[in-house]
């Protein structure tokens, strides 16, 4: 247990100025917390965290372009995180399941005090599993609509419709979009499960392809095939992948 003198450097992330203000004001009652920055969106948050290495992050969930879960996903390893949300039944359930600390707006002083006490113990510990958390917080039957990739302090957002295919590379996936390639720390299976199975097919152990990009399937060797994509790229198709691809293409009529 840390003593109160043990100061914590914290960043407050919320796209609403008043919400940041309210939290800052409540934090005044906790002299051990020093707010070193305020961020108005996820991009600023990723940048600020990598530059300032805070101990604690107060992270709003609903933010434009890059939400709280996506920020968490891009911050590994990172500071201890306390989520802040107004109302989101799925997110709240996800937090309970993964024992993640969160505050509800409007934030009460006593609830904040409890969260800060617990945060002391979380510092230096691994972050909650961002991808699992995000998928648990998605309403049922909804799929991922964009991917966030970090490149140093820069963040790229790839809308799912612009993802051509993904390729497994050890613990990473290489996301191919419009001729560019982005590396993301995620397994291809976890990516596959977050995407709409009617739009993305696992054609091979290492490849996940956007069905809209598939132009044709061609024989390659005696018992293997390749798909040709709109940009001319060729990807190997496994036997199981070929079955899945056929099912989907026939299902589409």
């Amino acid at each position: 247990m840390s003593s109160p003198e043990n100061r914590l450097r914290a960043i407050v992330v919320d796209d609403e100025e008043l919400a940041r203000h309210a939290l800052r004001e409540l934090l005044r009652a906790h002299p051990e917390i020093e707010v070193i920055a305020e961020c108005a969106n996820g991009f600023e948050a990723v940048k600020a965290v990598s530059e300032m290495a805070p101990d604690l992050l107060f992270l709003d969930i609903q933010m434009p372009k890059l939400d709280g879960f996506e920020v968490l996903e891009l911050l590994n390893p990172g500071p201890a995180v306390i989520f802040v949300t107004a109302y989101d039944q799925y997110a709240m359930r996800a937090f309970e399941v993964h024992a993640v600390d969160y505050l509800l707006k409007p934030v009460s002083a006593s609830r904040l005090a409890t969260a800060i006490r617990q945060a002391h113990d979380r510092i230096g510990k691994p972050l909650p599993p961002a991808l699992e958390l995000a998928s648990a917080a998605r309403p049922p039957s909804e799929y991922l609509e964009r991917l966030a990739v970090r490149d140093g302090t820069r963040v790229h957002i790839i809308p799912i419709a612009k993802l051509d295919y993904a390729e497994a590379q050890d613990d990473y996936v290489a996301l191919h979009s419009g001729g560019k390639q982005f590396l993301k720390q995620q397994t291809i299976s976890s990516l596959e499960s977050a995407l709409d199975p009617a739009r993305f097919v696992r054609i091979h152990r290492s490849y996940l392809v956007n069905l809209e990009r598939v132009v044709k399937i061609e024989p390659y060797t005696k018992d293997s095939r390749v798909v040709v994509l709109t940009d001319g790229a060729q990807l190997p198709v496994s036997r199981a992948g070929y079955t899945r691809l056929q099912d989907l293409l026939e299902g589409k009529g």
């Binding site: 609403e16 100025e17 008043l18 919400a19 203000h21 309210a22 004001e25 108005a40 969106n41 991009f43 609903q62 434009p64 372009k65 107004a86 109302y87 989101d88 509800l104 707006k105 409007p106 934030v107 609509e145 964009r146 957002i157 809308p159 799912i160 419709a161 612009k162």
Partner: protein
């Protein structure tokens, strides 16, 4: 329930009809049997009272054999004809008995002999009257059934509207509510008078939303004032990120629209449009009259890459359904997207009174 006995006014009319029948029967018997008016009346009056009761009993076979298709018609005919014949025979026999008793009186002596000439006539009248009563009862049953169907339909319509409005009320977005409360909580120390102002705006919005439940239609002006209080609350949250433009033709203000028709669209414009933009954007409200139609446009800036803004949220689907249900093919809702502008256009009949 007996369709005549159960209603006092129908029973009165029925009995009045029987007075007329009695008069006709009196005239008929006097002419056919050359009987005196007083002796005939002494017979006809009690006979009419008795047969009026007999004919009311037609309800029971009618209720037992509902005409639901042509295949029951023969069965019904046989049943009702048999009943008519039997009742008529009983009735005529009663008449004969009465005539015999009347004939005993010195004043009416020989009446029974004169009466015997009238038996076929009475028998025929009995059958005919009973059959008429059967027809009357069938007609009443059909009338009642159609009225009940109408009532059921009305009830169903009322229930559907209730359900719809309940759904709408439940739609007051909890996210909006809690975020607004959070803004108020922040304002209490920074700017207490604005906090109070926002409390009032929020209360106004909630009160209006809840109060609109009972109305089928409200003037556009009222809907707009609801939207303005909603946007005023959201403006406190979003600050400079939310700009609102209006181009409302003044002649539209008094036209009637279903309550809370535009509110979900404006909520989407804020949540899915402005809320997804780092720098925010503009929400534009337009209303004008084109011919006999009221055209309303809710447009907003949006991020084309954010799929969530494309999605026809629940709110949009709901509005589309309501327009479809209320106006059928004369109402329309179109969604248009161009670059970074998302636009919903509604065209509904320009109604100058609440229908």
């Amino acid at each position: 329930m007996h369709p005549i006995l159960a209603r006092r006014e129908r029973l009165v009319i029925y009995l009045l009809v029987w007075v007329v029948i009695g008069v006709l029967l009196e005239a008929l018997l006097m002419t056919a049997g050359h009987t005196g008016w007083l002796e005939t009346l002494s017979l006809v009056a009690p006979l009419c009272v008795i047969y009026a009761l007999f004919c009311l009993a037609a309800w029971y076979p009618v209720a037992a054999i509902p005409i639901e298709g042509m295949d029951v018609v023969p069965r019904a005919l046989v049943a009702h004809l048999t009943a008519a014949l039997l009742l008529s025979i009983v009735w005529t026999a009663l008449g004969a008995g009465l005539a015999y008793l009347l004939g005993q009186a010195r004043y009416f002596s020989g009446f029974y002999t004169r009466f015997r000439a009238q038996v076929p006539l009475l028998l025929g009248a009995g059958v005919l009257l009973y059959l008429l009563s059967v027809v009357l009862h069938y007609a009443l049953v059909a009338f009642e059934a159609s009225r009940q169907a109408e009532k059921r339909e009305d009830e169903a319509r009322v229930l559907a509207r209730d359900a719809e409005l309940k759904a709408l009320k439940a739609q007051v977005n909890p996210h909006f509510l809690f975020n607004s409360l959070n803004s108020i909580s922040a304002l209490t120390s920074v700017d207490p008078s604005r906090a109070r102002e926002m409390c009032i705006l929020l209360s106004e919005f909630l009160r209006t939303t809840l109060g609109l439940g009972e109305k089928a239609a409200i003037p556009l002006e009222e809907e707009l004032s609801l939207i303005r209080s909603f946007l005023a609350v959201e403006k406190v949250r979003f600050g400079a990120r939310l700009c609102v433009e209006e181009a409302i033709a003044p002649e539209c203000l008094s036209l009637f629209v279903p309550p809370l028709l535009l509110q979900p669209l404006v909520e989407n414009a804020v949540g899915h449009g402005i809320g997804n933009l780092l720098e925010g954007g503009v929400i534009r409200l337009e209303a004008r009259i084109e011919g006999d139609r009221l055209v309303i446009v809710v447009a907003n800036s949006y991020d084309p890459d954010s799929v969530r803004s494309h999605r026809n949220g629940l709110g949009l689907a709901n509005v589309r359904n309501r327009i479809q249900m209320r106006y059928g093919s004369i109402g329309a809702l179109h969604v248009r997207t161009a670059d970074d502008r998302f636009e919903v256009e509604i065209a509904i009949p320009a109604e100058t009174e609440a229908l």
